[in-house]
């Protein structure tokens, strides 16, 4: 059901871990739905110089977290904010429809960590406009039984 790329990132996830005294930390998802992503950023001169994640979730949650960290590493904050869930999913050669919410979660995790950084440093970013870290990113599970 998963692409080889997803399985590869699931089995060998990049950037797992935490960053002590991170410049920005964001957590999204909730255990009720079975996915929580926590992302840590180290930011220097507007550049993401390090990123780590921890994820509680299914195979695609782990793979999208891993892929998202790879895609924003070394990027500017504005570049990172422009990362879409579609781009993460595409980079993984696609996700099954019922798992697309994992890529949404990954996008939100990145934004959430940058939001934390912005708050702490009193900064404003265009890419954060309308972003509410407390919004329930809860996806409605596609009901598999009827």
């Amino acid at each position: 059901m998963y692409s080889e790329k997803v399985m590869e990132h699931f089995m060998n996830p990049r950037n797992v871990g935490e960053i002590e005294n991170a410049d920005g930390v964001g957590q999204v998802g909730n255990p009720k739905c079975g996915d929580i992503m926590k992302m840590y950023l180290k930011i220097e001169d507007g550049i993401i110089v390090d990123v780590k994640f921890k994820t509680f979730g299914c195979g695609s949650a782990i793979a999208t977290s891993s892929m998202a960290t790879e895609m924003i590493m070394g990027k500017t904050i504005d570049e990172a904010l422009s990362l879409t869930n579609r781009a993460v999913a595409d980079a993984l050669d696609g996700l099954p429809p019922v798992k697309m919410h994992c890529s949404v979660l990954a996008e939100q995790a990145v934004k959430s960590a940058i939001y934390d950084y912005a708050q702490k440093n009193n900064l404003q970013f265009d890419g954060l406009e309308g972003f509410d870290p407390n919004e329930d990113h809860d996806h409605h599970h596609e009901e598999h039984e009827d």
């Binding site: 998963y2 797992v16 957590q27 739905c33 079975g34 929580i36 926590k38 509680f56 299914c58 598999h144």
Partner: protein, 392 residues
């Protein structure tokens, strides 16, 4: 070839060689339609009657009380819809439990939309139906009680005899989904006062696509599938001769040494359960410690999500499930695990290993070796785990 360890016998079983051998001639040699008068038909009529007798005997029913269907789900649908349609003049209330298989649960939910009223009785922390609540929920217009014999996810075996007596006392039709219990428990429909019983062959080393509904003589029930005169005019459709023959053989094998089967499975199951609980911190057994199916080991592993466990096990060749097979594509935590009181996150992190006749001690040892490694790896990635271990 990669090592493959199958521990998902509750999802489906491989057919036994004897079963396949019994079926083979009926595909293209002795293939006639049992309803035909000519010899191609007659010889198969005898053959399905024989299978019917073998299976009837294993549940202490008479052969003219058992009707072949296309599987366990059809049997459940037929039993429930058929009885409430037949008795709708008498009442509109159905009693079932919160942990039934979806074939029962979704059928009851459908009937709610059609105007019936359903009470979903709670279970305790071990998954045993609350008998007091069940008794209290009986109403003058209750027309059906449907409770499963053993649960497909956590393996808990229900007090069927007590429920049967309650149903009898109040003159309520009693249906039992015994799809998982069959072949693992001795079932006596008369002693247990069961009016309808669902079975499915592919859970007991028989073929897929064949099930059975026991209908006690005199039970009022409407047909689900109308048409030809097969199955004494109660279930239309050309008889699935090879599958019926295979079901008969599987039934015979299942009850020829039930004690040996139970002993073998129980030994391996307990070794697996005890080994996992010992080696994996923050893990717990789901279901009842003793009133459970001999092959079922369902454990929750905290701080990890079940699908990630499943995939990781699959990568080392171990096949199991998280929740029931038909819901393993679902994202919602299992309704059974929620009903026994697990929190969402713990329910998400549960695994069901089901052991069968072809499982060896080596298979169990392999799981005991691999799973702790996988758990540790995934926990290291989990943001929930860091809190527990103090962020290491």
């Amino acid at each position: 070839m990669k090592k493959r360890v199958y521990l998902d016998y509750s999802a489906t079983t491989p057919m036994k060689q004897e079963v396949l051998n019994a079926m083979l001639p009926h595909f293209n040699v002795q293939f006639g339609n049992p309803s035909s008068i000519h010899c191609f038909g007659r010889e198969n009529k005898a053959v399905i009657d024989q299978a019917r007798q073998i299976i009837a005997k294993t549940i202490n029913a008479s052969a003219d009380e058992v009707f072949f269907t296309g599987g366990g789900s059809e049997s459940d649908n037929w039993a429930i819809k058929g009885v409430v349609s037949a008795l709708k003049g008498k009442g509109k209330h159905i009693i079932t439990s919160k942990i039934e298989h979806h074939a029962v649960l979704h059928t009851c939910e459908f009937l709610e939309k059609e105007g019936f009223e359903v009470t979903f009785v709670d279970v305790d922390e071990f998954g045993i139906v609350d008998l007091n609540q069940l008794q209290r929920s009986i109403r003058p217009d209750t027309i059906l009680i449907t409770i499963m014999y053993a649960n497909n996810e956590i393996g808990t075996i229900q007090p069927i005899k007590e429920i049967g007596e309650l149903a009898k006392k109040h003159n309520i039709t009693f249906h039992v989904d015994a799809v998982q219990a069959y072949g693992n428990v001795r079932i006596d429909v008369q002693e247990l006062k069961i009016d309808l019983l669902s079975l499915s062959a592919h859970k007991v080393y028989g073929p897929k696509g064949i099930g059975l509904l026991y209908i006690k003589k005199g039970t009022k029930i409407i047909q689900l599938i109308h048409g030809g005169a097969q199955e004494k005019r109660r279930r239309a459709g050309t008889e699935n001769v090879p599958a019926i023959v295979g079901f008969g053989k599987a039934a015979e094998l299942a009850y020829q040494d039930l004690e040996g089967h139970v002993k073998h499975l129980t030994f391996l199951r307990d070794k697996l359960i005890n080994g996992l609980l010992e080696k994996i911190p923050y893990s717990r057994l789901n279901g009842h410690p003793t009133k459970r199916l001999p092959g079922n080991a369902n454990i929750s592993i905290e701080y990890i999500e079940g699908e990630a466990l499943l995939l990781s096990l699959d990568m080392v060749g171990i096949a199991c499930s998280s929740g029931s097979a038909c819901t393993s594509g679902s994202l919602d935590p299992s309704h059974v695990l929620m009903a026994i009181g697990l929190s969402h996150e713990v329910a998400h992190g549960s695994l069901r290993f089901t052991i069968g006749d072809f499982t060896s001690e080596e298979d169990v040892d392999y799981v005991l070796k691999e799973l702790p490694i996988i758990v540790e790896r995934l926990r290291q990635m989990s943001p929930l785990y860091e809190k527990v271990k103090g962020g290491n």
